[in-house]
Symmetry: C3
Subunit: 306 residues, 3 copies
């Protein structure tokens, strides 16, 4: 078994490491009984530090940790010593001294993680639960798991990511992962306003027109678009225009392969980036992604802590 | 054993279902050892979603769930995806996908529960922890338990509910429950300002004058009155006037039967709707209600999840 | 074994009681396996009520309670019934009725604890997690533990406390504890602005000049200084001046004995009351204090609840 120390970026992983995480997640999903793993992390302490709001990722990690028997400490950053001027590193060193061995951290700060992993102790593990618009590794891994379950392999797929790519850590991590798994046909679709810096996505191509980009797609990952970002965009793109052109509707879904799967990292803005019918339709694997998220986070915690 | 799917309104229950819940609560209260039930809900996941503030109901459900060995997830709605525009249904579907089987929800929204119970999965359970001024079913059940413990039966009792009836979900649920248990003598006492729509209380009568209404009462349920509501009432009712006329004082308590019991759902506004001496006096069963609340919520969770 | 009912002030303890708590903490720290104590407080309910923000003390108590198998309930005072006008005593009585046996309370209110301990039930325990500028007993105890581990005994030590003494509950509790343990040489160092009412520290002397006070010290406890307090002080003390004169730097540390230990209750204001090099240097036992905090809180909970 591989042993991971931290999990910050999918690009740091090798293909065999990702495959092991996918296999272990499937194993947890297929287990008949929870007794098998309910004490795997008994007496291990895990702390959650979320500096950005989160329901699903935070709850998913909590559930994963509890199913493995770990002790979890949730630090509410609004009440925390951060309000007294302590550095994040000091907070973490204090929790280390209390016996905490893993830290699940979400932050908007691009300069937190890299120095942090050098400053913590040799037995301390840092797991990113989302970093600015840069990385969301467990989301990328659960997306890979969902794709492999539906499609069996990664090599010959056409994968679309559509929406606000420029602000999306989900897109970044997924493309890093697909790259390692040898998916060569990745297209990012967005209006000009949300076109990303393409050097961050060396293996992907960009297409402004959904009608061209979506044809023959196997996998469509729709991304959340913040209303405020559309309305404040310089080019006066309206919410209505955005929905007309970029919402994954039933019409647009018909441009894809008939067995294409529809994904979304959530939370969904229904009627904006995706229609109700597609979100709740039979090609949608959105809730399967959520189920996979718990299994994948159990796999990550196990590989890191066990 | 009966099997409940959801718990939203006491009027949806039959008399035998209520009796089973009362019996099971008494059983939990009388158990010599917690070992008997500490694993009843092992590996079951329960989520709390409180969209209105709560200490006691939230803590009571938490304690009940933990005593049965369930895994509890507390969603802090201020940090949740609700702030990102996700619907409550989407939040619940996500938690369902993570394996959560029961949702304990408090809401001020009158239109949440009815559609919700049709939209969730067949194995998902919804438990109301308070709905606007409409329903508070576990409070109603713990009130019935407290009355049965003190009085043995419901049929021949005179029950008074006094205070701000018009905004009280506690009054609504208790009267629904008493109606099913065949209590025929129920009087609601309040100033004109807080008189409820009586069609919601078909089995009860209304009385503005406490001196008339309280005579020969067996059970007096005092209700919290918000200072702001008194002070903003159109008829210029003052806080002082309210306390003079409607506070359950020792004098007023003497109008009731000598063995009458005094109840209050909490939190208490001491010196407004109830005097210190009565709240802490020997006829008060207010803290017994709180103790019963944990046992009743254990009974509800068991009947729904086991 | 001694049995404590509450823990509010170190001055209420005897020397043998403190020694037992220190011995038990060391025992927990040296235990090879957590199995020995993981069920000591099984089925005991403990509630945390923090009316002031806290990361480390709150987390430390949580970890301690979990390691002993206790059930913990965290009351978020912002969402609590306090917002509905209920008294703290009523909140506690309600939690007592739910089966909670110990309350860990932090408050800025100097008039809360004394009446409270008389009003709660005979089986209910109150543990202070910090009271205004008056008392922080578990901090005092973990400081004594850290000193004993490094120095073996208390009698012949010279102990310095330096910083904002006048607002420090940490200083108060530590001096109470050192007094009981027969440390006779205690010096408080601060600028005139932060000189405390010396009647609260009958066994200690005061010195304004660090260069005089620090000589031959065995133990230096640095205290956090709030920037706002310095900047708003009447005598126009500047932050720069404060750091120049009162920061524990490597230069100042050389005035002390070569084997002196450096302590700080945290959270640290790096570069203000202590330099980075000293805080992270080899004489610093600051993180050892944090580790000791969990063990000491386990000892306190065990002595009170077991």
């Amino acid at each position: 078994m591989i042993q991971l120390k931290n999990l910050l970026y999918l690009k740091d992983l090798r293909k065999d490491e990702i495959n092991q995480l996918l296999d272990l997640s499937d194993h947890y999903l297929n287990s008949k009984s929870s007794h098998e793993f309910e004490n795997l992390l008994k007496n291990q302490s895990i702390a959650s530090l979320f500096f950005e709001p989160s329901t699903r990722t935070s709850a998913s990690f909590q559930v994963a940790a509890k199913r493995l028997g770990a002790e979890t400490i949730i630090i509410d950053e609004k009440k925390s010593s951060a309000t007294k001027g302590e550095t994040v590193l000091d907070t973490i060193r204090n929790l280390e001294a209390m016996g905490v061995r893993a830290f699940i951290i979400r932050t908007g700060d691009k300069d937190l993680f890299r120095p942090l992993i050098n400053d913590v102790g040799p037995d301390t593990h840092i797991i990113s639960a989302g970093e600015s618009s840069i990385s969301h590794p467990t989301q990328g891994l659960l997306d890979l798991l969902t794709i492999r379950q539906a499609k069996g392999a990664f090599e010959d797929l056409k994968v679309i990511i559509m929406g606000d790519i420029s602000h999306s850590r989900v897109a970044r991590s997924l493309v890093e992962g697909l790259d390692i798994m040898n998916t060569r046909n990745i297209t990012l679709i967005s209006p000009e306003e949300f076109k990303p810096e393409m050097s961050f996505f060396p293996s992907a191509s960009y297409e402004e027109d959904p009608n061209k980009g979506l044809s023959d797609a196997d996998v469509i990952v729709t991304l959340r678009v913040q209303k405020e970002r559309i309305e404040s965009s310089e080019s006066n793109l309206s919410l209505e225009q955005y929905s007309d052109e970029y919402q994954l509707s039933e019409d647009k879904l018909e441009l894809c392969k008939p067995d294409a799967i529809v994904m979304h990292p959530g939370p969904i803005n229904r009627g904006i980036e995706i229609s109700d019918r597609v979100a709740d339709g039979k090609q949608s694997v959105i809730l399967k992604q959520v189920e996979n998220g718990v299994a994948m986070r159990m796999a990550v915690l196990t590989q890191i802590l066990n």
